[in-house]
């Protein structure tokens, strides 16, 4: 059923739906996220969490200085994060700008990483300030180059000025382009939406419009994936599942740099959306530096001591 039968695509029905969402109490949401941050994950659970987190990393490079060489290095690392230990899983995906997608795809296939998808940021990432024609072209380019996942940004200006239907229509159009060839991740850029009420509204808006994933941030704006923001988004996908029987994924991105932070994210998932979401098909972590910290902690758990950083590869 179109839009899960919850809205009919008109502005009126969308506004009604979004207005009917309960508010988020800031103090309470932050307190809950902080409490979950005190969970103590040790020994066998920590080991399992590290491998799970590695498999969920969207290994990312989104710099003006990105080159084919840099992207090939990233792709090799994505497939075999620790060349000395074949039991380390591949990451969830690699995430690049759309002109790097073809290079990334080709290299991944070359090094035995056919199972690792390439995610392309699209729709005038990171600001989203371009015409719809440009956004469509941007997405089409990425898909043609072999992107299996599209990380689109929403038009935050439209959202903040109450033109929800414009944001909705943009997502619907990009969703149609993706078809069944690419997963659609919708970046809300929560650091610019600021309030948790907005985060909840934007989450539902994106899900109604057809997102496969809702993603916190571009990584270009701080604050990014704070624990309370991720909590509110996880509540949204949990509630959306109750309404529709569809599980939408969540991708925090930006600011998750070490193992401790990553494990806190997994605890949030486990105790908010539930363990069903603890799979790379429903939870990803957008990061670059995180992977090496996970690898170092993994070595520490395996060998009993901290190795020098020279034992993990740079990308």
């Amino acid at each position: 059923m179109k839009y899960y039968g919850l809205v009919d695509g008109t502005e009126g029905s969308l506004l009604n739906f979004l207005k009917g969402l309960p508010g988020v109490d800031q103090v309470g949401a932050e307190a809950r996220a902080a409490m979950l941050g005190t969970r103590s994950i040790k020994t066998s659970s920590k080991k399992a969490a590290i491998d799970l987190a590695i498999s969920m990393v969207d290994l990312t490079t989104l710099e003006g200085a990105d080159t084919p060489g840099k992207v090939r290095a990233l792709a090799s690392k994505a497939v075999r994060p620790d060349p000395s230990d074949p039991t380390v899983p591949s990451v969830g995906a690699i995430c690049v700008y759309n002109d790097m997608v073809a290079i990334a795809r080709k290299h991944l296939d070359l090094v035995g990483g056919a199972h690792v998808p390439v995610a392309a940021v699209a729709t005038a990432f990171p600001s989203g300030r371009a015409s719809m024609a440009v956004k469509i072209q941007d997405t089409t380019d990425a898909m043609n180059a072999g992107a299996g996942e599209i990380d689109m940004v929403i038009d935050r200006g439209a959202f903040l000025s109450g033109r929800y239907i414009e944001v909705f229509d943009e997502i619907v159009q990009i969703r149609a382009l993706c078809g069944d060839k690419a997963h659609l991740k919708v970046i809300l850029e929560t650091g610019e939406l600021v309030t948790y009420d907005n985060v909840r509204k934007a989450s539902f808006l994106a899900m109604l419009a057809g997102a496969d994933f809702i993603k916190t941030s571009t990584g270009k704006v701080a604050p990014a994936a704070t624990a309370p923001v991720v909590l509110v988004m996880l509540e949204a996908v949990r509630d959306f599942y109750q309404l529709t029987n569809h599980r939408i994924g969540v991708k925090p991105a930006g600011g998750i740099r070490n193992t401790k932070d990553a494990i806190k994210q997994l605890v949030l998932v486990n105790e908010t959306a539930g363990p069903e979401w603890l799979t790379p098909s429903l939870f990803r972590i957008g990061a670059s530096a995180l992977l090496n910290d996970l690898l170092m902690q993994r070595m520490k758990m395996r060998d009993g001591y901290y190795a020098s950083p020279t034992y993990v590869t740079i990308d």
Partner: protein
């Protein structure tokens, strides 16, 4: 087992108990020294019934010696000391509590059964905060609008409950000492160990002998303390039944009293509440400290049009509550403090079943030894049910519904108690309207069970007399101040 399953189980994360040293036997703490004590009784760990130590049973003679010591300390030292000097001792105690926080937290969880997360993050830091706060008052009593040079009462007899042993001790001792009183304190029969560790802190802080005396024992020891003619002021936290007995006992005397008694708080959720946070607040309100909280939100009043939605979310949330070893850092709900209390919770819950309410608990494995009760809710409860009227003092929530704000107020106030209440609404005007009509000493809006030493705490009706904490609590320990407040 996949990595996911191995992670979801959360391997045990036990706080080490090696930091605490428990003697096999304790006496009383009188005049700065530990006595031998007599008629020792066992003190057990409620999570596994292990005997932790043996505690002396105080009698009238022990009380007599302790009150004498407190009187001498009051006359000769403490009341003569400047507020600034008294404050120094209180600051010192506060700092030692912080330095030895982990020790206190572990001992509290062993002795009481509460999760280490609570003793570590709530009880012990708040206890230290009460000493810091009142230390600041000690040298400012003359300038705080409490009359012309307010004077202490003398010797305070203080009786504290088992639900927050070290925190209730701090609530009692810190203001008493700041105001210049000396104290004889009786901890609860089942939870004396942190009070005895606090006695060591008094020694470590070089507190003058006799300013703080601790007599352990049971109800008879408490009664002897209340009846002692040398006591000027009684401060009690515990059941309404015992509170009434104390009020009767001191009626013909000059003794002053503050009483913090039972409660049956209404936690009112309006249709416009932030539902997810309200669910957190409901859980925190009734399952915090196993529901062993006088101000627990034990009656949930849901507006009827959102009742199903809230209950569905509450059940999902309750299924995430981790019940088990209090020393595991991931435990949310620990052990019931004693077999007597467990029996009381069971009896009242059975009455709920018999009176036609519907009981629900999430699936959870309870340990085989020790005293345990699962997180439980009763739906379909009416005002006429015992579980809507009597204090259960356990992890049991009674759920009622209402149609209009007026009805919520009527139901919330339809109880002999009046200690606390909670309001959940995103509408400020509704919160203020409701708060103005609730008969409760403490009202939380969009939160629950928040405590701060600067905030007065106490009840209406049969929930008690007087206030503890803040400037109001301090006045209970001062003579001039009290008459000025009348």
């Amino acid at each position: 087992m996949t990595p996911k399953d191995a992670f979801v189980e959360y391997a045990p994360a036990l706080e080490s108990r090696s930091i605490v040293t428990i003697s096999p036997e304790y006496g009383h703490f009188i005049n700065g020294e530990f006595t031998k004590g007599a008629n020792h009784f066992p003190s057990i760990n409620p999570s596994n019934e292990e005997v932790l130590s043996h505690i002396a049973l105080g009698n009238a003679q022990d009380i007599d010696i302790a009150v004498d010591a407190a009187r001498i300390a009051f006359e000769s030292t403490w009341s003569k000391m400047s507020g600034k000097e008294r404050g120094k001792y209180l600051y010192r105690i506060a700092r030692i509590l912080q330095e030895r926080a982990r020790e206190f937290a572990v001992l509290e969880s062993l002795d009481n059964g509460k999760p280490i997360r609570e003793s570590r993050d709530v009880d012990v830091p708040l206890a230290a905060a009460h000493f810091f706060y009142h230390a600041g008052w000690a040298d400012k009593l003359d300038y705080a609008g409490m009359g012309n040079s307010p004077r202490p009462h003398g010797v305070a007899g203080q009786i504290i409950p088992w639900n927050f042993p070290i925190l209730m001790l701090a609530w009692k001792i810190a203001p008493a000492l700041a105001a210049g009183n000396t104290v004889v304190l009786k901890p609860a029969e089942s939870t004396s160990l942190t009070a005895l560790l606090f006695a060591q802190v008094c020694q470590q802080a070089d507190l003058p002998a006799g300013v703080v005396n601790i007599i352990t024992g049971d109800g008879s020891t408490g009664a002897a303390l209340v009846d002692h003619p040398g006591i000027d002021k009684i401060a009690f936290t515990g059941s309404t039944e015992v509170g009434k007995a104390i009020a009767r006992a001191i009626a013909p005397t000059q003794k002053k009293a503050t009483l913090e008694l039972g409660g049956k708080a209404a936690n009112i959720v309006f249709e416009d509440a932030a539902i997810d946070e309200a669910v957190e607040g409901i859980v925190n309100g009734i399952f915090f400290n196993q529901g062993h909280v006088c101000c627990a939100g034990s009656r949930l009043l849901l507006q009827e049009d959102i009742a199903d939605e809230v209950l569905a979310k509450l059940k999902v949330r309750m299924a995430k509550i981790r019940v088990g070893d209090p020393l595991d850092k991931n435990t949310d709900l620990g052990a019931i403090n004693s077999s007597e209390q467990l029996q009381k919770i069971r009896d009242l819950s059975t009455s709920g079943d018999e009176e036609g309410a519907e009981r629900w608990s999430p699936e959870c494995a309870l340990p085989n030894t020790g005293f345990w009760f699962p997180p439980t809710i009763f739906t379909g409860v009416t005002q006429a049910h015992r579980i809507a009227r009597e204090e259960i003092f356990g992890p049991v929530l009674s759920v009622l519904t209402f149609r209009t704000p007026q009805e919520a107020i009527e139901k919330a106030n339809n109880t002999p108690y009046g200690l606390s209440a909670g309001i959940w609404s995103e509408k400020g005007s509704r919160i203020l309207w409701t708060a103005g009509r609730l008969q409760a000493g403490v009202i939380w809006a969009n939160t629950f069970n928040k405590f701060d030493p600067a905030s007065p705490f106490g009840g209406y009706k049969e929930s008690g007399w007087g206030r503890e904490g803040g400037r109001h609590g301090l006045t209970a320990y001062l003579k001039e101040a009290e008459s000025n407040n009348e």
